[in-house]
């Protein structure tokens, strides 16, 4: 390196991740991102409400095919994302340390936890339906069974202070069950999340399944909360209680499932959060063979 000491470094421009592509904000805006001690790290795109709408449209387009994939394949793809993250663990540890001010070994520990979390949810994709659903005993000649199905498009305000692991904790259970997501990354620390988009883009994850936006939650989230084509809203990263309440009210207008800030649970709880139950009654036994009875 020493003979290249005067080389001008190529600085990365962090962009949004929408529909499998890395666009700048439609508004052309960006904002400076700094480390906790004030050192400037990079500029990130400042998403507008139109970017939010574009992301919802991309997520909606991707949702049905994603939910229609086999659980096995969804698991393979999540596992692949873990593999890609493992290969770039050093870079992510560095970005995380810059973003949060954590020690290098702490940051590496967090990245490793994030990798393990992806593998964990990769394993759940073909199991949660058996755990949450099943055959129901009914008093009649019917085979009655219940399965959890994905809600659809989930808008997530990712945790503000845990920019990588917190984001994966919110995203992985949502997509494991066949939802697609629009994620507002941590406002002050968006860079690890935006780099995570590159990991997802090289993991065979279909474009639009995960859409990452950087910007102000107070600006974009109200539009996601009021969007009639968003089915669930995760307020995990909304620190302002007043904003959270107004977002929840807007979500109620359009009949969304809402996860309130500070709510935690087991991974099964998180998987269940973004599913709804479908119960089917199949005529069985005499009724079916007789061609009637219902």
């Amino acid at each position: 390196m020493s003979e290249h000491a005067d080389r001008l470094r190529v600085k990365k421009t962090y962009k949004l991740y929408v529909g499998g592509k890395f666009p700048r904000s439609e508004s052309g805006r960006s904002y400076p991102v700094s480390s906790p001690d004030g050192a400037e790290l990079a500029n990130a795109a400042l998403a507008s409400r139109k970017d939010g709408r574009d992301a919802v449209a991309a997520a909606r387009k991707a949702q049905r095919p994603w939910a229609g994939q086999t659980a096995y394949l969804r698991g393979q793809i999540l596992y692949r994302a873990a593999e890609m993250l493992e290969g770039r663990a050093g870079q992510f540890a560095e970005e995380l340390a810059d973003a949060t001010g954590a020690e290098a070994h702490e940051a590496l520990g967090t990245v490793e936890a994030a990798i393990d979390r992806l593998v964990h949810y990769a394993g759940w994709t073909d199991k949660y339906t058996s755990v949450l659903g099943g055959a129901n005993p009914v008093a009649g000649p019917y085979f009655n069974h219940t399965t959890p199905e994905p809600l659809g498009v989930i808008a997530i305000v990712a945790p503000q202070d845990d920019p990588l692991l917190g984001l994966i904790d919110a995203v992985a259970p949502a997509i494991a069950t066949g939802n697609t997501v629009v994620v507002l990354a941590s406002e002050a620390k968006p860079l690890p999340a935006l780099s995570f988009g590159e990991v997802l883009a090289t993991s065979d994850l279909p474009g639009g399944v995960v859409n990452l936006l950087s910007g102000k939650a107070a600006e974009v989230a109200p539009h996601l909360a009021a969007h009639a084509d968003v089915n669930g809203l995760d307020l995990g990263g909304v620190a302002d209680a007043g904003l959270a309440a107004s977002l929840e009210a807007a979500a109620a207008e359009t009949l969304k499932v809402v996860r309130r800030p500070g709510r935690t649970g087991t991974s099964l709880d998180l998987l269940r959060q973004w599913t709804e139950y479908k119960t089917v009654w199949h005529p069985a036994g005499m009724a079916a063979t007789a061609g009637g009875g219902y």
Partner: protein, 304 residues
Amino acid sequence: MGSILSGAEAAALVRALPGVDAVGLEARAAGLATRSVKADAKAKAIDLAISMIDLTTLEGADTPGKVRSLASKAVRPDGDAPATAAVCVYPSMVAVAAEAVKGSSVKVASVATGFPAGQVPLDVRLADTEAAVRAGADEIDMVISRGAFLAGDLERVFHEIKAVKAASGEARLKVILETGELVTYDDVRRASWLAMYAGADFIKTSTGKVGVNATLPVTLLMMQAVRDYRALTGVQVGVKPAGGIRNTKDAIKYLVCVNEILGDDWLSNEWFRFGASSLLNDLLMQRQKLKTGHYSGPDYVTVD
């Protein structure tokens, strides 16, 4: 109304047309496309655009059931939204469509003349047209012989359009230029004038079956042609861009152009149409947004 010109006269007039300033045309179209239409004006534009749609299905897989559901959507697209101008189908589906829209303001348009290529003998094309009219078509969308046009045989194209016009009887005749296959702006201008001289009631950009469909500059050029034609002859001709217009924003750009180039006289479905299918759903979604304040998605409109 048939043309009073002979083929040779029309061809000579068309060949004498000046060339098109492509840079100026595209700059004008791009300039008009930047107009911002919001709030009340947008709501009016959306309803106007809906009322101008020729709701179209032109697939080999069209069934009577599909045509009937399309027709019922054309008659009552959504809540209090206005009906579309017409449904546009293949000749074999005209009877089904006519039955389904009976009693409403919705017209039945039929493509004819060996759509989309037009590469069949003239008598077959005329029989195709007559069959569609007999089955109840109010409007005929014919294709020109691009092969003859590009080979320079303008007289043949002129006579064919005249013959189809005669075969159409009372039905209004839309002449599809297929601008994507004519390629140059000069040829689009020539074909527009040739069609109008031959008696077209509408000139239409495209079939929707080739790579390049309606574009704003091409449609603008055709609007200029109908404006100049009325100034010259006193006869008003309509314009129909078709294919590739998928969202509200695009539709409003076209309406801005109609207003700027042609004015109020053309701002109704009598004289301007959109040939489209997926456009209607986007207009309805935007309409819902203006009414409810919420953006919606494809789950809130019908699947066609």
